[in-house]
């Protein structure tokens, strides 16, 4: 597969992920890149040597990942395969404009397993930056590509890559709601739950094995915890009234939830098995959308206690709350970044609901989109991108936006509305 490279920033680049994606277009998320970083690192991913079909899948995956991140500019590697032990003509690669080069091979090992080997070079320093071997099955070649892309990303940018992570989202199509899990590039979508009633607010357990969400299958909102591998579901909160807005504690042992069992919507905490419910807030208005800070010490939430919905922060055991947002009359859906440095939320400005990010140290707020119906932000585990649901042409799509607002990707499904995204944790 040949990538189309466009030098201009913010030009639309369609990434055709694979023939498979095209044939399954109705079920797969397709990704369109609508913005890229200003200073992209030029990198060449040579055609890997060894098994040609396997090498093609792996290198195509690596290139698509790096391209999609918006941080790299792919340099044409030419045709000849280059393995991890081939001598490298650094002058030649520098001449092509590549600051970095990856070369490797796919070799069939014992019992049908594949070995993906690669080495990464700095063409300026004329030195190897490192390399690795991943043993993989034939059906896991894309996963190997994501692992290699993560390695390259981390070596060249200094932060962890998220290409091996997964996303959860809800597709509404033909009167059905499907809770789906896909790789971060939209591939390999699998349906965890199909329902005739809405599903909202999915959140990943910190270890990535379970999702908590709100399902309306009992004619009212009830919170479930769903183990992805076994498909086993457990009701965590089904009290009289509404049960919603689950949020995992960072240790995965508890969930902050919103219950109306004692009157208006208030924040409670329950054990992940549904036992030991305790009330955390005591306000006369609405308290909802709790989210733990990454250190587990505090909870951000939305409250209308001051007359309009605004974001507040309180201790993880409740108590006094400080107001965090002041600009505008509607600031909701707080999501602290995994690195603890910023807070993503949705802000209504001139009647438009837009993604905003606050730097928690300086309290500076930046609006990151120019759309009108953004909702449900979710940080990538490396805190660099925020995934949101938005609407384009009356249809629900997902959009990933970098925290500096420069890089934008759009994820859509041909035959349905996509909403309620949740970016999973790092692969463990």
């Amino acid at each position: 597969m040949k990538m189309t490279l466009m030098p201009q920033i913010f030009h639309k680049i369609l990434v055709f992920l694979s023939l498979l994606a095209a044939t399954l277009a109705h079920a797969q998320l397709s990704i369109e890149i609508t913005g890229a970083g200003a200073n992209r690192i030029p990198v060449a991913i040579a055609n890997f040597a060894g098994d040609p079909a396997a090498a093609q899948v792996v290198t195509a995956t690596i290139r698509a990942d790096l391209e999609r991140s918006g941080l790299f500019k792919l340099v044409d590697p030419g045709g000849a395969p280059l393995d991890e032990n081939s001598p490298v003509n650094f002058g030649d690669w520098k001449g092509r404009g590549a600051d970095a080069l990856a070369a490797g091979s796919l070799v069939r090992g014992a019992n049908g397993r594949m070995e993906a080997r690669f080495r990464l070079y700095d063409t300026q320093k004329q030195a190897a930056l490192g390399g690795a071997v991943y043993v993989t099955g034939n059906d896991q070649l894309r996963a190997a590509g994501h692992r290699i892309a993560d390695y390259i990303y981390e070596k060249l940018t200094g932060e962890k890559g998220v290409f091996s992570t997964r996303v959860a989202y809800v597709v509404k199509s033909g009167g059905q709601f499907k809770l789906q899990i896909a790789d971060a590039d939209g591939q390999g979508a699998a349906t965890a739950l199909t329902s005739r009633e809405p599903i909202i607010s999915p959140v990943w357990s910190p270890d990535g094995s379970r999702l908590a969400y709100v399902s309306f299958e009992k004619k009212k909102p009830v919170i479930y915890v769903h183990s992805l591998a076994s498909g086993q579901r457990q009701v965590v909160a089904n009290f009289k009234g509404s049960n919603s807005a689950p949020a995992w504690s960072p240790d995965g042992r508890r969930l902050a939830v919103v219950l109306s069992k004692d009157g208006n919507s208030q924040i409670y905490v329950v054990n992940a098995d549904g036992t030991g419910v305790q009330r955390l807030t005591q306000s006369a208005g609405i308290d909802t959308e709790p989210r733990y800070s990454p250190d587990g010490g505090s909870i951000y939430f939305t409250s209308d206690r001051g007359g309009s919905p605004q974001i507040y922060r309180m201790g993880a055991n409740g108590g006094d709350a400080q107001r965090i947002t002041f600009e505008g009359s509607y600031n909701v859906s707080p999501r602290p970044s995994p690195d603890g440095k910023s807070l993503a939320f949705i802000s209504r400005r001139d009647g438009r609901f837009q993604l905003a990010v606050m730097d928690l140290a300086s309290k500076q707020v930046q609006i990151l989109t120019d759309s009108h119906k953004d909702e449900s932000p979710s940080f990538a585990p490396n805190s660099r991108m925020v995934l949101i649901a938005t609407e384009i042409g009356g249809r629900g799509v997902l959009s990933a936006v970098s925290t500096d607002g420069r890089i934008k990707q759009r994820l859509s499904i041909a035959a349905g509305d996509v909403r309620e995204p949740a970016w999973g944790p790092f692969n463990q």
Binding site: I200, K219, K220, A245, V258, S265, I286, T288, E289, E375
Partner: protein, 178 residues
């Protein structure tokens, strides 16, 4: 609503009197009674969901289950007080029946915040019912937020239809709408 209430009451009275012999001398002249003035009522009938016809017959006020709210408002408007009172009266007279009140909002804004706003609407209806004599354990108020729009449109007319609380009934034998 008032227009509907009167025929329903008349029908109920007529049905209640049907076994009593009519005193011909005290009645109005026969030729002044239009045959079309009588609404046939089947007492004790059940619809397919196992609920009394009284709750589902379009001619009955109790078949009206939706209470609409103004934008950013969460109180039951005066024009719906009669309807809420009729439902309260039914719950007082039929203690074995339960209702689920589902609050709804329009699509604008956060799904979870809208869920809490829809809860305020269903809570308002519940408070009215309980104030008028329904028992706490007969009434559950929940919210569907913006998730189940009655009108899927994206304009003011659609939003007005979606700012709503719906009353669902369940009979003592467990059959019903929820």
């Amino acid at each position: 609503m008032k227009k509907l209430l009167i025929p329903a009451l008349l029908a109920a009275l007529l049905a209640g009197c049907s076994s009593t012999p009519v005193d011909e001398t005290s009645g109005a002249p026969v030729d002044s009674r239009g045959g079309s003035g009588v609404t046939p009522v089947t007492a004790g009938g059940l619809d397919s969901r196992g609920l009394p016809r009284e709750l589902t017959d379009p001619k009955s006020q109790l078949s009206q289950r939706s209470i609409y709210f103004d934008l950013d408002k969460y109180d039951v408007k005066p024009e719906y007080q009669d309807l809420v009172a009729a439902h309260a009266k039914y719950l007082v007279a039929n203690r074995g029946f339960k209702v689920l009140i589902q609050g709804n909002t329009d699509e604008r804004g956060s799904r979870e915040y809208n869920l809490s706003l829809g809860q305020k609407r269903s809570d308002a209806v519940k408070r009215s019912l309980v104030t008028l004599g329904a028992k706490e354990d007969q009434v559950e108020s929940v919210s569907l937020g913006e998730e189940k729009p009655k009108n899927p449109g994206h304009d003011e007319a659609a939003w007005a239809e979606n700012r709503r609380a719906d009353i669902l009934y369940r009979a003592p034998d467990g059959r019903g709408e929820f």
